[in-house]
Amino acid sequence: MGKIELKGVEKAFGTVRVIQGVNLVVEDGSFVVFVGPSGCGKSTLLRLIAGLEDASGGAIRIDDVDVIDQAPAKRGLSMVFQSYALYPHMSVRNNIGFGLRMAGVPTDERNRKVDEAAALLNLTPYLDRRPSALSGGQRQRVAIGRAIVRQPKAFLFDEPLSNLDAALRVSMRLEIARLQSSLGTTAIYVTHDQVEAMTMADKIVVLNGGRIEQVGSPLELYNHPDNLFVAGFLGSPKMNQISGVLAEQYRAATIGIRPEHIAVTRGGDGWPGTVQVSEHLGSDTFLYIDVPGAGLMTVRAPGELGVAAGDAVHVGPDLNRLHRFDANGLAIR
């Protein structure tokens, strides 16, 4: 069982309130992603749950037990660090088995569990190596192995993929998602990368300045962002946000339309504009169009669109996918 509840959790460093009154429920077995810009407090929140930092206020409950005064070891959680934090002087086997050793698990059983975890992560040939003799991806997997072997109540991931190259990141993303799904253990995953968030999460928690902006499934957040911040944070390229006269036409202070929900035509419905830059990826075409009254708009068209810089075009947003926001940045529904 691994249900985690946060009630009114606060954290202040001196007078700076880094976490401000966070309330959250993480259901057992779910994959929850904390996402947000640098400095939003997502790592701090994770560390509060882990017990590596003291909360300044509020309650943290794991399986209905208040753990706020408990040391990290007692909480039954395990963590995968951004830098992997492997013990450099120990072999892979001993790295993975360290937690079991601390818990007093007898050697035979310990070795059996380490072997199981290693097999799961394709680490068996490396069990006797030191971390310095491993590649980044392998070290990453050792860190994960160390986390799963103790069969914790929940996994805590602190930006584990940031130090890997792009291709490795994609494959590791899949592995982690598959692993969590097969083990069924609760997972809280911190990242600044919204693609990771969208692809891996059952539920996304968007954080900004120590506060939760919105909680929901990836598609909920994509289709129905509660405010400008969430609307702009998820989705790549970023949603076009237009204020001024054009917005007033739709009775809003700001309107938003995602680049993929815009049709570009040469003469036809929509706002007139001039193409500044066109990027041809083969699979998609990205256009950056200067639209008077809207500024520079980003448009994403599937396939190849034969449009070049300097062309005069019409930008037609799909009105069904138009988002409206009031003067406070909140969504108008």
Binding site: F13, G51, L52, E53, D54, A71
Partner: protein, 290 residues
């Protein structure tokens, strides 16, 4: 950041060292202050009594005191100048391509690890002895009169011995810092058209300011208390020629068994060290960014 619990454990962990150093600092210092106000000679332990500042006046008006202060400053100053200049030159030399560089470095570093009593006696006897010393032989080979170092130039002799021991320290520190000069900076300077001299003046020298600063500060702390070299070669003489403040206090304490005067002298030494440290840190502190 640490949790409250680990901070509490941290404080317990530090406690013994703080306690021990506190006692080590305070207790002897307070005792020295106390004794400095007494008339107390170990040979006449009964004749003791509070005499206020008399010990201080006695100590300070003693003509040997002024000489000692001057000697101390001369010793420290000269050694600083010699070691910083030679140290920098040697460090720069060691930075050049040399065949067998490791061995040269070992030869240059070695004197620092020699205990002061050995250095002093080897220099005094084997090298500086006016009859059979090595320098005497060199002088005679050129038809010159050998110098009786410790009779004619006792202070200079002591300075030479102390400087010889500390040049390796300066060299090692400056050399280590020199090695940390980014290779890319050198290449960028080359691209910018800097010749060897410009590179040296504009890039190397400023970079060396910091280690030289550290060398000066550290050496000053230790040089103020030079003792063994003097004890073992000149016993402060001839006369007071090589008596520095540390030796003067030692004379009062151990040789004259005048606890009162020696304590006053000790306090003066502490004050001097603090004054020097204060100015040093002030004048040179801007080069450090701890």
């Amino acid at each position: 950041m640490a949790t409250q619990k680990s901070q509490a454990i941290g404080r317990i962990a530090i406690a013994p060292s703080v306690a021990v150093l506190l006692v080590w600092m305070i207790v002897p210092l307070i005792l020295t202050l106390y004794f400095s106000t007494l008339r107390y000679n170990l040979l006449y332990p009964d004749r003791t009594g509070f005499i206020g500042f008399t010990n201080y006046t006695y100590f300070v008006t003693n003509p040997a005191f002024t000489t000692a202060i001057v000697n101390t400053l001369v010793l420290v100053g000269s050694v600083l100048v010699i070691t910083v200049i030679l140290g920098s030159l040697l460090a720069l030399l060691l930075d050049q391509p040399i065949f067998g560089q490791g061995i040269v470095r070992l030869m240059v570093i070695a004197p620092f690890f020699i205990m002061p009593t050995v250095s002093a006696l080897v220099w005094k006897n084997l090298l500086m002895n006016p009859v059979s010393g090595f320098f005497a032989w060199i002088a005679k080979s050129f038809g010159l009169q050998p110098i009786d170092w410790f009779a004619q130039a006792p202070m200079l002799s002591v300075i030479i011995i102390v400087a010889w021991q500390w040049v390796p320290f300066a060299t090692l520190i400056i050399f280590t810092a020199l090695q940390s000069l980014d290779l890319e900076q050198k290449e960028a300077a080359e691209m910018d058209g800097a010749g060897a001299f410009s590179f040296f003046s504009w890039i190397v020298l400023p970079h060396l300011a910091r280690p030289i600063t550290v060398v000066i500060m550290i050496e000053t702390i230790f040089l103020l208390s030079v003792f063994a070299e003097i004890r073992v070669t000149t016993d402060g003489g001839p006369g007071q020629a090589t008596t520095n403040l540390a030796y003067l206090v030692f004379q009062q304490a151990i040789l004259n068994t005048n606890v009162g005067a020696a304590s006053a002298g000790g306090i003066v030494a502490v004050i001097l060290a603090n004054v020097v440290a204060f100015f040093l840190v002030r004048a040179v502190g801007k080069n450090l960014d701890t």
